[in-house]
Symmetry: D2
Amino acid sequence: MSVGIDLTNRDAYDFWHREQIRFSDTDMLGHVNNVAYVAIIESGRVAFARSGLLGPLTKKFVFVMARIEIDYRAEVHYPADILVGTCLISIGRSSIVLGTGVFTSSFCAATSLTTLVQIDTETRRATPIGENLRVVMEALLPAAPRAQT
Amino acid sequence: MSVGIDLTNRDAYDFWHREQIRFSDTDMLGHVNNVAYVAIIESGRVAFARSGLLGPLTKKFVFVMARIEIDYRAEVHYPADILVGTCLISIGRSSIVLGTGVFTSSFCAATSLTTLVQIDTETRRATPIGENLRVVMEALLPAAPRAQT
Amino acid sequence: MSVGIDLTNRDAYDFWHREQIRFSDTDMLGHVNNVAYVAIIESGRVAFARSGLLGPLTKKFVFVMARIEIDYRAEVHYPADILVGTCLISIGRSSIVLGTGVFTSSFCAATSLTTLVQIDTETRRATPIGENLRVVMEALLPAAPRAQT
Amino acid sequence: MSVGIDLTNRDAYDFWHREQIRFSDTDMLGHVNNVAYVAIIESGRVAFARSGLLGPLTKKFVFVMARIEIDYRAEVHYPADILVGTCLISIGRSSIVLGTGVFTSSFCAATSLTTLVQIDTETRRATPIGENLRVVMEALLPAAPRAQT
């Protein structure tokens, strides 16, 4: 998926989440295992959603994960403090795409695109995003003017 | 805690659960990380509970983990097939102790004792084990004659 | 990335690896967390590589992970036995693409494409795949006749 | 193992390490899975060792994990910031015992005792702790006057 935004650039993100690399995140190759990146990307994504940036959480509709793409750009070694940036990339009929950047203090370790689909928790079916939520989310799109943080 | 049973001996166990070591279970020391042992011990323990050996699962009372002791006896290297043995060690007023052995094809990698407490899911308080369940569980104690499996 | 092969079809795979869902693979949504899928996909991939299907492992050149795409197709609930199929999709100058399917006994839970790059372990730079290895790998491509397993 | 120190009291610790609960640390019971506690306890322990409090790290001798005991004292729910306190409890001939407390902002979630054995990395055998290291470590014992931090 090609998006018109450089996810390796910290300027792409207004929302940040701090994470610690754990010793158990490493593997026998001596670096942080690729699976740990996914846990960290999820941590940033859930923090983004919970911050209200995806609108009020309701019991009736939830966003579930449909797809993830991750580009591994640099090895990370233990120990490391990590900053995860998350941003909204696009809004579809019933789905959205989020962008993520995983950064150490000195470099971008990975970038990711995640597609989330809104489902009705009763029918478990994809459900169009309502107008109210769409308006909230559109204000977060890269082209739109952003609120100060 | 001292128990009168050798948990490194495969004969201590009638209930077995098979697990695979995953590449992400390793750490930068080149062996299986100690955290993965705990996930595997839990897998065996939950399989034991779900098999009905702890009596019928009800919504009203559940066993929650209060304490674990693990003796790490040998390093495990990737890849490895694991067999986890689980047995009932003792029954208290509202708690039980389970024993676990983690085995590769050739050696015992770890043993563990876990204390589980029965709580009432509404009050979240420790609750005495009922007579019916106690009878079911007493038949599993090491001294008692065991059912064929 | 579009590949001319249906990764949700078990026939796409000659190489299979068995995995167990662990209780700790679940999350507070009640199903298997998306991070666990990645650990399982890696388990299958490493087993495929270690089986010799990617040629003899040497100390001088190794394949490192550059990119992964995962399509989450169905929720998995604990407990579950998993079969992971892995196949070679394409061979580039210094990289390869592997396909993965994660299956329960009754459905395909996820499919994945992983791009691995061969690097020189001293320079840490991408290095062209040698002719001998290329010949070994070409025999594994979907279009080519496959060896019996 | 009984130690004359209250591990649920924050005053027991001079060394602190910060951790974040990740979404993938939760399990289908809706709380943080017990396995995640062990990863967090290890994170604190390794940070303690790497800070030089266990003396200079050498290639010839390393401390390996022999035993862990964990008392689970309270459920933790996502999200949570965690502070892990680690302290030295006792020094044996070739082993040491560390104490750990896992704290949220408002309560103690777990305490732990870990026994580490010093081994010779060539022979893989337990090796007595040298006098220089012993002196460094004795200054950390609870009864001894502590260095300012």
